[in-house]
Subunit: 201 residues, 2 copies
Amino acid sequence: MTTPGSARPGGRTARTREAVRAATLAELAEKGYDGLTVEGIALRSGVHKTTVYRRWGSVEGLAADALDLAGGEPWPIPDTGTVEGDLRELTRLVVTGFADPDAGPIATAFVSASVRNPATARALHAFYAARHRQSAVLITRAIERGELPEGTDAVEVVRVAVAPLYYRLFITGEPADEAVADRAAASALAAARAGVFQSST
Amino acid sequence: MTTPGSARPGGRTARTREAVRAATLAELAEKGYDGLTVEGIALRSGVHKTTVYRRWGSVEGLAADALDLAGGEPWPIPDTGTVEGDLRELTRLVVTGFADPDAGPIATAFVSASVRNPATARALHAFYAARHRQSAVLITRAIERGELPEGTDAVEVVRVAVAPLYYRLFITGEPADEAVADRAAASALAAARAGVFQSST
């Protein structure tokens, strides 16, 4: 989950959507989810309040749309040449993402908001589903290279690799650093090599 | 995390604490964290409102104390005779705990509250630290039986075993059922057997 800044191609509607999204993320980073208001986002984006209300309806709609755009964005999918290196980069991206002074608070705010807001939760779940699909390529490449057994559930390897970091960040409050990331990657890899994620067909 | 119901030994102070805790949990289950009020808990527990204010101060104090009592409570630590069986029981306990119609909403409410309330977060983190210490015995027993390598970090095996369930429940919104629990246990075990959690001393 990165802070998106670049303008997207498209006409005025796309530019408006980008401006509103950028304003939503900036407001989130500055004030947290509880500090989000349609007025604040309208003011910051330079888009008229009535337009924001008409198109996004509410703070929940704005947050969901920002997540929707983020899910569709390209991100630096690791390609180190080995599944070991790729998984390690993937788990380190989670650590650096949440530790980033700009992107971290935004990502944390989305997770926090999703536990009590169903619309944000739906958007967050769709965001993670997209990220899982994108990340699965690391594992399918590894299967093709013969590094992992045929029939390995690629998305499940990704989930298990990143899960220990989220568990520390959002449940137990324990530190999630590079060493933890490397061990989480090594753990998922060892299990994948042992055939734990092979489908039983 | 189970719904505690039994009275604890002790005098009037302990009984009052138990009554207030039981009322806090019942209110949480019924109304969620946002619906908690000192008045509601006082009314339900039969303890005078001024006493509740004096001893617990606020809703946050009440939630933290309920968690504190829960962390000190005994729970059914698996003892199946093999580390494979023990880890599977442990991960299944997470699934059944959150799926339980009484205990599940309470546990979920605590996690939800902790993302935006520092006092509840501290209490939740202490609760998980206690649970990790209690669960680590499964792994130390396995090391003694020769099922896992010497120097295996017992608490880290526990974290990695349960993390995929929390990741699904609180981050991605994906189902967390018995099959997921069994695979998470098998994954942590395979990694532990491969020496991933051995300290490098």
